[in-house]
Symmetry: C2
Subunit: 143 residues, 2 copies
């Protein structure tokens, strides 16, 4: 299991927003892209999904930007995945219109696997991710 670029970028962008949430500062797209090394036009599309998913709010115009809609502790990785790339956690397969018994068994396994992942991602918050990046930075710079 590897996160797609889309999901990877979404998480990085949200870490940036989480970092600036305490001061309620709007962060604009280019700032995020510069800090996290993300192609801006691509992130734009991703931010649109995060907005539709109710995770970020966007303000247009000069001095506009993005901000989280709620505390980083209230945003789980599950929320992020469902907004940015719902297919990761869904079993959207409906191969034949006539499912065999093995089709059904396999489908059930997939669903159970998804449940495990959802459960796992549900318990990871943006706050936690942010605090871990800060730790990592400290370690890096304190050599």
């Amino acid at each position: 299991m590897i996160f797609s670029a889309k999901l990877d970028y979404a998480i990085k962008a949200l870490i940036e927003l989480a970092r600036n949430f305490e001061s309620r500062r709007l962060v604009n797209l280019n700032e995020i892209c510069d800090n996290q090394n993300i192609p801006s036009q691509f992130l734009l599309q991703i931010m649109s999904r995060l907005k539709n998913g109710g995770i970020v709010e966007s303000i247009r115009g000069v001095s506009g930007g993005y901000i989280l809609t709620r505390y980083p502790s209230k945003i789980s990785l599950k929320d992020v995945i469902l907004a940015a790339e719902p297919s990761v956690l869904k079993n959207t397969k409906q191969a034949a219109n006539k499912k065999s018994s093995s089709d059904i068994v396999i489908e059930n396994i997939c669903n159970q696997g998804n449940e495990k992942l959802i459960e796992f991602f549900e318990n990871i918050s943006l706050e936690e991710l942010l605090s871990k990046t800060i730790e990592k930075n400290n370690i890096t710079y304190s050599i």
Copy 2:
């Protein structure tokens, strides 16, 4: 999470072999493909992986075929996945040669997610899958 066709076919083929394991009967490719509706040339490649992974044994020549190398109860879904499509359970990403702190945090999350999946798949045996398909068949035919 959806299993790829490769993995789907691998599991179906192994269910067929599990069904015939008690009688130690060799099952040939076309029989599997007919029963499970799988393109034969494609399954051939998959069987080759399963063979290299030590899950099946192949016998060439007239009246040849495939057979499991051990009891269906001793083959886990994790074994199957590692043989047929190892990438599913591995975090092979090594994007930049210079990883940022968020790269590392995300990588760790992926690894932990993989652990959860491995743990889950490790506890599902071919025997279990076979018994469930039989149950399903019974339900289907007993209407």
